[in-house]
């Protein structure tokens, strides 16, 4: 289960994610994040509350980055939790 909170400032949408990101909830994350990217704003994903993320979560991040490039905007990760940082570090060897 994953919870979302979205805050908006002038040019930045910040999505606060809270929970575990796996295959079961990855589409829920896409449904929240992709429309924000499509609106052309810079999107920050705050991962402080994410205590577990697997390859499905990495897929969402990669797809978000690719989508942002297509829309001439960007996605940044903020306050990455330690468990997520470990998974990202492992994924960087691969991506």
């Amino acid at each position: 289960m994953i919870k979302f909170k979205v805050t908006e400032s002038e040019n930045i949408s910040t999505v606060f994610l809270d929970g575990e990101i796996d295959m079961d909830v990855a589409d829920n994350v896409r449904e929240v994040v992709f429309p924000l990217i499509d609106s052309g704003k810079e999107v920050h994903l705050n991962l402080k509350g994410v205590q577990y993320m697997d390859s499905s979560g990495i897929s969402v991040i990669v797809e978000s980055n690719q989508r942002a490039k297509e829309k001439n905007t960007k996605v940044e990760l903020k306050e990455v939790s330690q468990p997520v940082e470990k998974v990202l570090a492992m994924a960087r060897k691969f991506l």
Partner: protein, 145 residues
């Protein structure tokens, strides 16, 4: 949870789950519970949980790709000696084509195959076997302790 053997030198726990993405959190909970019981150190524990979750996810995504509403169950068995951890997965889905189980080229930016890469990074060995009836597939992961 079914404790098959419970002494201090040879421990084994097995549990089955509905083959569905909503079961993945239960697979993680089971794994964490077992590793805590087996006194696996916390850092290694979370890596192992990730490898197990990715393997279970592969069963849902690939072995049951054409059967999203299946009522079949998959089983996970975690066994531990003082030297080695063995994690076995059993399912009745499409037989695994070993030649297709690989992570993709490094210069391909699509994330597919990352789960298999995580499993390979975390575990020491990966073996695909034919499952004894009623199982079709039996994946065995090992990690030296």
């Amino acid at each position: 949870m079914n404790t098959e053997v419970a002494d201090t030198t040879n421990l084994s726990e097995k549990k089955d789950f509905l083959v569905n993405s909503s079961s993945l959190k239960d697979v993680r909970s089971f794994s964490r519970e077992v590793f805590e019981k087996f006194k696996i150190n916390e850092e290694l524990r979370e890596e192992l949980v990730l490898a197990i979750a990715e393997a279970a996810q592969n069963i849902v995504k690939h072995a049951y790709k054409d059967y999203p509403d299946t009522q079949d169950r998959m089983a996970v068995r975690i066994s531990c000696t003082d030297k080695e951890l063995e994690i076995s997965f059993f399912d009745k889905g499409k037989p695994v084509e070993k030649s297709k189980v690989k992570h993709r080229a490094i210069d391909d930016v699509k994330p597919g195959g990352l789960g298999t890469f995580f499993i390979q990074e975390i575990m020491d060995s990966i073996k695909f076997k034919e499952g004894d009836k009623p199982w079709i597939n039996n994946l065995v992961l090992t990690k030296k302790l």
